[in-house]
Structure formats: C-alpha cells, structure tokens
Symmetry: C2
Subunit: 141 residues, 2 copies
Amino acid sequence: MSDPCPFCAIGAVKADEDLVVLRTEHVFVTVTLKQRPANPGQVVVCPVAHATTLHSTEPALLREVFDVVTRVSGAASAAFQAVGTTIHNNNDAPGQVISHLHVHVIPRFAGDGLVIPNPSNETAPRSWRLEVAARWRRVLQ
Amino acid sequence: MSDPCPFCAIGAVKADEDLVVLRTEHVFVTVTLKQRPANPGQVVVCPVAHATTLHSTEPALLREVFDVVTRVSGAASAAFQAVGTTIHNNNDAPGQVISHLHVHVIPRFAGDGLVIPNPSNETAPRSWRLEVAARWRRVLQ
C-alpha cells in the first residue's frame, strides 16, 4: 500500500531529500512547495512520525519540534538577511491541505506585505526551492 | 518610570486581570484586543518576563510557553466548539505592534475564511472579550 502522506514520505527519506534542510533525531525541516517572492526561505518543521495536531502529539516530540522551529527562526537573519520571522501552524483547520503536523517558518522583510493564506497557489520552481534549501543548510549544518 | 509594554503590565497583574484566562508559573494567556467574529476565542500566550523573539528566549521558558499553547489549542473544541486551531507568532516582523513575545491561538471553524493579518483594526468590545475569557476559563481552570 502506498503512503499517501507527503511529509511521511519526506520524513522516511523516500522523497525530496534534496529539499531537506536539517534533520534532528525525530524532526526534519523542508522547503515549502509554494514560496512567496517577498519572503524567500519559507520552510516547514515536521516530526518524522505522523502526527496531526499539537495537542495530539507526544510532549517530548513536540518539544523537539519547537526546539527546531526556534533554531531555524534564529538562523533566518544569517541565511536570508531577514529582519524577523513569522511562525504559523494549523491544527485541523478548515481547508488545511496536509494533515501531518507542520510548523511554517517564514522569514520576514521590510515591506513584504505578508498575507496568510498565500494568495498564490503556484508551486515554486524546483530550482528555486533547491537554492532555498542550500542557503539554509549553509547556516544550519 | 512607567512600563510601556502592555504584556509586561498584564503579566505583572497590573492591568486587565479580568481578561486573563490562565496563568502557569512563568506564562499567562489573555484575550486579544481584536477579535474576529468568525473565530471567537482568539488569545495570546505570553511569558510574564519580557522577551522579544523565540530565538532570544531562554529554552525552559519557551518550552513552558509552547506547553501552554498546546494545552489551550487542545481546549478550543470544548470551549468554543472549534474544529481546529491556528497558531501564529511574529518575531521582529515588520509592522509588529507589540514586541513582547506572544503566540496567538485562533480557534478555527468551517467556512471562517481566516486571513492574517486581521483585516479589521477595531478593538472588540470589552464585554465580548470578557465573555471569551469566561468561556476559556470554564474549560482550562
């Protein structure tokens, strides 16, 4: 039976390892499919194991997730010259596309005009996403 | 000298204690000034001590913040019959109004059409915010 969850597949190193920015013991960070031109560097922090919401996730695993979120947030300045970050996470929200727990880290820039949800539905070119991954890796690894 | 930080004042029990939903050892939860009609129950989770970003906050304190975020998120269903939650946090983001670290917990409902930032700049009536606080307290305390 195939695994229908894209983040389970990435977590299990079965897909898109070239877009993975960082792995810790139970958590990985990967570049989001959609990228905002005014906010280069958007990634998601996910547990490898399938979990759906903050409040249904084992506390130790959740702490590792937020430890990594914090580490990534702190690296946005060095990786992208960001002035700050926005952290965003949906838990069984209506319209949520992927149910596997994921915490977005969005680098912020003066005048970026960030709006959530992303008004664009276009997938960013893979070459762009690979460059985003490379820039994070230089700082985080 | 007066304290210019509104979340420091609430944390120190110098203002708006009637809008505080929950306190733990180093963290408090309070109702946001703006409320979305389609998303009743929005609150922020804050450390009592002034901190500005995830990545400049002491790790143990940050864990307490996210433990509380998770607890509040898990109570949104019982408190507001929410179907889920959205978690949102800015760290030195351009246009950020209050620099004291705060993590928004926004209850989610089918068809709520949530957009961030909030298109309305109006402060919700205090009576409404007091009712929101009361509904959270019934479940969390």
